[in-house]
């Protein structure tokens, strides 16, 4: 185990050598866009950056920042108070102090407030002269379609009704996405939304003013490591106060329409497509990272798996333990394995975790094939090798391993192809690779984006298969083919 740890350390310190500033984002469009804006801004200030897209929810991002696995991510003041500090009434000064205790700084507000809002069709709101939530009191005939979460939240529907004394006759629970369809189709008149939701602009809706200031403030800010260089912090602070709701809605809409967060960020900087990363370069970057993940993990799996297979080829309890353990690892679903590794201090949300998980998955085919290949060597070959007076090490090196090479290579090939496929999941923990477009495509429910990752991953698996077939010709002795 010690050796394993050391190997992983070597592999990952190599990766860290020129480590860029890691920017995290949560799994929704606005978080992606804000992270891209930070990336752009830091890049302009001369820093190497890396955007780990859609890493998860608040707790995962906060833990990643607190433990220095990422250096920056966009957050909301309400969320910091409620979910991170667990203190809804914390003052801005106290918030700053509490965060500083964790080595975390907070930027000034970016400008917009992404809180809950009630939205209506623009045309209906104008016809009925409804501009504020208070105005709803006069229209008991309106039909409300609200998300189930909003109906249940302690800052949601029930307290809102009490504060504004709203009529409650016409309320139904409905899914967020379907709610927009229902609103557009006219089967409901009012729904809950996030105040910077792109759909507000796209579907020509208006957000009603929260005239009694019921909804908590969710002002966007950046959280960052206080250890960031002063220039980097300054670059982040330049963004403060430059994004109002309308601007943010526009950027979110751009991101959702073009499926391109970097382009939305460019729009913010006013140069629409100049610095947008061209697709081929993105593809190269994803593919290179993908190969790096799969390659390093495969190398480790070979270095550890072949010796384990040699030990496991001798019948006995140790062999049973090795084969049993490697098989057991294989039965853990890959998502669960990632989830299990993330809380481990050395791993966390990182490339390391992805490599460790892929390494563990790669072990079984290599261990099993090495053991089987060696076990299949006939007794007469073993006797001959022994009777010649070869030492046990020489027998293994000169006779047994070359004879088993075909089976061992087949195991390595299987591991390589499995690794290429499984490495797409690395994007879930911000480790990048071809999984990146797949995950963001899934978030956006956009098939074209999913295919941008899925097709290259499939082609890569085929190429790896073929190059191993070529390797067979070089490595397997002619007498065995």
């Amino acid at each position: 185990m010690k050796m394993l740890g050391a190997l992983l350390l070597c592999a990952t310190t190599a990766l860290q050598a020129a480590e860029p500033i890691a920017i995290g984002s949560k799994k929704f469009t606005e978080s992606y866009v804000l992270a891209e804006i930070a990336k752009h801004s830091l890049g302009a200030a001369g820093f190497q950056t890396e955007h780990r897209q859609g890493m998860g929810g608040t707790i995962i991002l906060w833990e990643a920042l607190r433990t220095d696995q990422i250096s920056v991510y966009p957050e909301y003041t309400g969320t910091i108070a409620e979910e991170i500090l667990k203190n809804a009434t914390v003052t801005p000064e106290a918030m700053r102090d509490e965060l500083a205790k964790n080595g975390v700084g907070i930027s000034p507000e970016l400008g917009f407030n992404n809180t809950y809002a009630l939205v209506m069709r623009r045309e209906a709101a104008q016809r009925l002269s409804v501009h504020t939530i208070s105005d709803l009191r006069a229209h008991a005939e309106l039909k409300y379609g609200l998300t189930h979460e909003f109906l249940d939240r302690h800052d949601g529907w029930q307290p809102l009704v009490r504060r504004y004394s709203l009529p409650t006759g016409n309320v139904q629970g409905i899914d967020h996405g379907l709610g927009y369809e229902a609103l557009r189709g006219g089967s409901i008149d009012v729904k809950d939304a996030y105040s910077t939701d792109a759909k507000i602009a796209v579907s020509d809706l208006v957000a009603l003013e929260d005239d009694l200031h019921f909804f908590p403030q969710y002002k966007a800010v950046y959280l960052y490591r206080l250890s960031l260089p002063a220039d980097a912090r300054a670059a982040l602070q330049q963004i403060s106060g430059t994004l109002d709701e309308a601007r943010m809605i526009q950027l979110n809409a751009e991101a959702e329409q073009t499926r391109n967060y970097a382009r939305a960020a460019d729009l913010y900087f006013g140069n629409e497509s100049q610095t947008a990363e061209p697709f081929t370069r993105k593809l190269l970057r994803w593919t290179a990272r993908h190969l790096e993940l799969a390659g390093i993990s495969l190398l480790l799996a070979v270095l550890v798996g072949v010796p384990l297979g040699i030990v496991a080829s001798k019948p006995g309890p140790i062999s049973q333990i090795i084969l049993g353990l490697t098989s057991a690892i294989q039965t853990i679903p890959s998502l669960a394995l990632l989830a299990l590794l993330v809380p481990v201090p050395f791993f966390g949300i990182s490339v390391r975790t992805a490599i460790a998980a892929l390494f563990l998955y790669g072990l079984l085919p290599i261990v099993r094939n090495t053991a089987t290949g060696l076990q299949n060597i006939t007794p007469s070959i073993r006797e001959s090798a022994t009777a010649l007076g070869l030492t046990s090490g020489a027998r293994l090196r000169q006779i047994y391993l070359p004879i088993a090479s075909r089976t061992i290579l087949a195991g390595i090939k299987t591991s390589a192809v499995i690794n290429i496929g499984t490495a797409t999941l690395a994007a879930l923990i911000g480790a990048g690779g071809l999984g990146e477009p797949i995950i963001s495509g899934l978030n956006l429910n956009d098939h074209a984006t999913i295919l941008q990752g899925a097709i290259p991953a499939a082609i890569l698996a085929l190429l790896v298969q073929w190059s191993f077939d070529l390797l067979d010709l070089l490595l397997i002795p002619r007498g065995l083919r």
Partner: protein
């Protein structure tokens, strides 16, 4: 007594089955001794004990006067050649690779040419892999490998058992010639009395893990130790006497 190999009270059991009863036996230098007997009589077990593929349960084996032990086994194996029925050639090495595996320090080409001539193996086939050779050629390569280090003792475990009769007859003739030319001390295991008579200077007839009689074919035939000896010889008479 000019014995190269001595067995003193050597025995071997597999679980509950006796493979070799406590046995005393001497193998003379420069002679070909044939171990013969029905399947399971202990003849192959004896060969494996001599090259320490098996460890005896009791007794002592001496080669050239020094007792065989785990400590000197590799050194002794370098002085003993071993040929088995299917050749035991390594499939990933060419004929040349197999022969020279243990003999890298020798002057390769000169030694190889000599071995090829001795075993009548075509030099041009040296670059072939075992799978590309005929059964007879494979046994010739196996023999070359066993002879490469000029062993003081050659052990052959049914080396011709898997060959068709014509190839087998040719190889028997060649083996005899080689043994005579090299004045080779050899121990050959076979169940074929004709082969034993043709190749052996001394025949050791075994049954049920023990030695029944040791002598020349004529001695066995004319003064059988018991009825098993006569039965065994009579069963193969037509072959043995032609």
């Amino acid at each position: 007594m000019n014995a190269l190999v001595e067995l003193h009270g050597v025995s071997k059991r597999y679980n509950s089955a006796t493979a070799l009863q406590p046995t005393d036996l001497f193998f003379e230098r420069g002679k070909t001794t044939v171990l013969i007997g029905p399947s399971g009589c202990g003849k192959s077990t004896m060969l494996r004990l001599i090259i320490h593929l098996l460890e005896p349960d009791s007794g002592e084996i001496k080669i050239n006067g020094s007792p065989l032990s785990a400590a000197n086994v590799d050194e002794i194996r370098h002085r003993v050649g071993y040929v088995i029925q299917d050749g035991g050639l390594f499939p990933h090495l060419t004929a040349r690779g197999n022969v020279l595996l243990m003999a890298r320090h020798l002057k390769k080409s000169a030694r190889l040419e000599k071995l090829c001539a001795l075993t009548r193996f075509p030099i041009e086939a040296l670059e072939r892999y075992p799978a590309e050779l005929s059964g007879g050629q494979r046994q010739r390569v196996s023999l070359m490998r066993a002879l490469a280090l000029s062993p003081e003792l050659l052990l052959l475990d049914e080396p011709l058992g898997a060959l068709d009769p014509l190839v087998r007859a040719a190889l028997q003739k060649d083996l005899k010639e080689i043994f005579q030319k090299l004045k080779q001390t050899a121990i050959l295991v076979t169940h074929d009395l004709a082969e034993a008579a043709f190749l052996g200077d001394v025949i050791v007839l075994m049954n049920e893990g023990g030695i029944v009689q040791k002598g020349t074919l004529a001695e066995l035939r004319e003064h059988p130790a018991n009825s098993f000896v006569s039965e065994f010889i009579n069963a193969q008479r037509s072959l043995a006497l032609t």
